[in-house]
Symmetry: C2
Subunit: 271 residues, 2 copies
């Protein structure tokens, strides 16, 4: 693991215990695939970070500075994951964001995750529901207790991910990936207007797959789908083989998606 921390553009050796990232989860993060020494989909990650800063009223760091540090860390890394965390910085006690806060930046390069099972993922439904908070929907903020509670629902290593509904019953996503289902020949993904993260790979699919769209999805709409995939920026497209009792074969429509992404983005061509 290689790691760097900054207060503004100044390198720091340790986190201040009064950092508002720790106190309130007052910050954002991005989990970025590194392939052949380069962060993949950097611009899309940066745009989501910028959108998060806007929502939280935080200063966005200088993009060239951060990109330079990220590139330096990634140099020589054949494949890995770069976690970028940005907090509002140090604060005295109290929720009011300090007007002069200097953001804290953490960059942490770790190993790439193990390859997904070739036969496809096995999923479960989580009991934990996501609460509805339109002001925070879409951004990748540091308030992730709901995901922690959901992921703590199972420890069986043969279950790879869990699907989450919001408190109104709409299906949203997996704990750490977005969801697409194939219905009547179209790939559909839940809207991210009340909760959930607007994933980078999700956006790529919406932009590049003909007919792909956002919609409201019920549990039944997922279970009766013709195919299901999960996706995220680190692992790309993850075909789903099973959801509790339901089984899917990995057929042509899923292979078409995998192929399209591999063609467009060399980092995902290794499959």
């Amino acid at each position: 693991m290689k790691e760097r921390m900054y207060r503004g553009q100044q390198r720091i050796a340790a986190l201040d215990p009064r950092d508002r990232g720790l106190a309130y989860g007052d910050g954002l993060f991005e989990t970025i695939l590194v392939h052949a020494g380069t962060p993949v989909w950097w611009d899309a990650h940066w745009q989501r970070l910028a959108r998060g800063c806007e929502v939280l009223g935080m200063a966005l760091p200088d993009p060239a500075f951060v990109r330079r540090q990220a590139d330096e860390l990634a140099t020589g890394c054949a494949r890995g994951v770069l976690k970028l965390s940005l907090t509002r910085g140090i604060g005295e006690r109290g929720y009011a964001p300090p007007a002069d806060a200097v953001p804290t930046l953490l960059l942490d390069l770790g190993a790439a995750p193990a390859a997904p099972p070739v036969a496809g993922l096995h999923l479960r439904w989580c009991d934990t529901r996501l609460s509805i908070q339109p002001r925070l929907a879409g951004i990748k903020h540091l308030n992730r207790l709901e995901q922690v509670l959901a992921r703590a629902e199972w420890s069986d290593p043969d279950i790879h991910e869990g699907l989450l509904r919001d408190t109104s019953g709409r299906v949203v996503s997996a704990t750490a990936a977005n969801l697409f289902v194939l219905r009547e020949g179209r790939w559909l993904t839940p809207r991210i207007d009340g909760c959930g993260v607007a994933g980078i790979c999700r956006a790529w699919l919406l932009d590049h797959v003909a007919g792909a769209d956002e919609t409201d999805l019920s549990v039944a709409a997922v279970e009766t789908a013709d195919a299901v995939i999960l996706c995220n920026a680190v692992r790309g497209i993850l075909p789903v083989a099973a959801l509790e009792g339901r089984r899917w074969a990995i057929g042509t429509p899923v292979r078409v998606l995998l192929h399209a992404m591999a063609e467009a983005e060399p980092a995902f061509a290794h499959r």
Copy 2:
């Protein structure tokens, strides 16, 4: 400021940047009044912390160990605030809570807040709504972005606090205090079953004031109340003088509460 950090019972000099408190807000905190060298309402704070650990599936530290460290820090402090933060500890990437996580404990003794205005607080309504998540309601966890957004709505120093509703429109609390309103001779406070923090001072009032009870409160029920107070464990009872256009005189019912609390708890007798 005096500060101590521990991994389990081992003193540490710096936070690990992989602490899940920072990564996900995966932890809890208590803000405890220190008076005459002693943490006030320690048992109630500890019980809430224990309940939080139960909800999050975290190990509760040894109570005698933590109390001893807190007492040592508080020794000689005439009046201050002890912030106790407890996180799940260090984790590798991913939401799944590590089975062998060793909690991180932070103790931070700071100055007591300035005395509240003698004429009573001036409040506003916040636009930010609290999302409804029954699994996290009541406990004082580290996912506080909603409070940060709400407190960022105003910077006028003559506004002392803001009142929050949940996404269904029910009144919940202020950003950093609970709320009681006097209606038909009874002190009523919102239920904390969907969101909000089960405050220590709130519990004291529910236990010690005849007729005090939990209920659902609408905006109108607050605005047409005969008296309004806020309360928290650090500042005790805070009489409210104004809520936007509405004004209240600080009358006998509020003075009765202040007197009862001052009699029961010497830390609040200084008014």
